[in-house]
């Protein structure tokens, strides 16, 4: 599978990458983008199977990215990895078509629990 990590923090992209490895997903092809706009371009160009996206980013937020993809009929599997995880945000993510929302700080187990149903 091809996985795209979208986060404006290079440190967090590294941590997500490491956590994917620790959760047993290190064999997948992992790419990175530094904001929603860059993520959108990479999704168009590289057609990842799964997008792990931060919520709060400059240029284009995670929810704006997901809404744009959905409005264009792009059904890429999409989940949030974010420091905010209120019920309201979870509902908003769900409504927009996100498969899961992983709250930061996270563990390899929280990645396994969220990703396992979607990694086939």
């Amino acid at each position: 599978m091809k996985i795209l990590i979208v986060d404006d923090s290079r440190a967090m992209r590294m941590i997500v990458r490491r956590t994917l490895r620790q959760a047993g997903y290190g064999q997948h092809d992992i790419e990175e983008a530094a904001n929603g706009r860059e993520g959108y371009d990479q999704i168009q160009a590289q057609h990842p199977d799964l997008v792990l996206c931060d919520w709060n980013m400059p240029e284009m937020t995670g929810i704006e990215l997901l809404q744009k993809l959905k409005s264009e009929g792009n059904g890429v599997k999409f989940g949030f990895v974010t420091s905010e995880s209120t019920d309201e945000m979870r509902a908003k993510a769900d409504e927009a078509g996100a498969l899961f929302l992983i709250a930061k700080p996270f563990t390899p187990d929280s990645f396994k629990g969220a990703l396992a149903p979607h990694m086939s």
Partner: protein, 164 residues
């Protein structure tokens, strides 16, 4: 704004330090004695509320920010991290603690993008608070220290940390 003062701001900081850094960060009863001349970092993140704005400011000595970045990025003891990585990693810690503090506030609407700035001395941070503090906590892990301050904004930061 008064109801914010009763919230448990300690847990988000302790949890972030524990899960993210592997630190057993304990809240200190009193402020430690730090070298006032040491270079230091402040990270800030704004929290827009339905009726005002708050800010979470996190301060530490530069050497502690390096330790935070090393722990976060899994860097080896002999590895020298670029300053950009130190700032980025510290900003992410600020973002996570700020985001989790926002989650405690029912009136919270939006979290800003975190900002990090460096100052020449710790002393400068003491006189440069961006708002009115309602809570200030010190955390320590081994000889590393972190100060977390929750403030009510007085109008200055809202322009700098514009929510997106």
């Amino acid at each position: 704004m008064g109801k914010q003062m009763d919230l448990d701001f300690r847990s988000p900081a302790e949890e972030a330090c524990s899960v993210l850094l592997g630190w057993d960060a304990r809240e200190l009863e009193r402020a430690p004695r730090l070298d006032g001349d040491s270079p230091s970092l402040r990270g800030e993140v704004g929290i827009a509320l339905s009726g005002g704005e708050m800010c979470v400011a996190i301060d530490c000595l530069h050497r502690d920010a390096v330790a935070i970045a090393s722990a976060l990025l899994g860097a080896g003891d002999d590895e020298t991290l670029p300053q950009e990585d130190v700032r980025d990693a510290f900003g992410e810690l600020v973002n996570i603690i700020g985001g989790n503090i926002k989650g405690l506030m029912k009136e919270a609407v939006q979290l800003s993008i975190p900002s990090v700035h460096e100052v020449r001395s710790w002393r400068q941070l003491d006189v440069d608070l961006p708002g009115e503090p309602i809570s200030q906590m010190w955390f320590a892990h081994e000889d590393h220290h972190l100060r977390v301050t929750v403030l009510v904004m007085t109008g200055q930061l809202s322009k700098k940390g514009e929510p997106t």
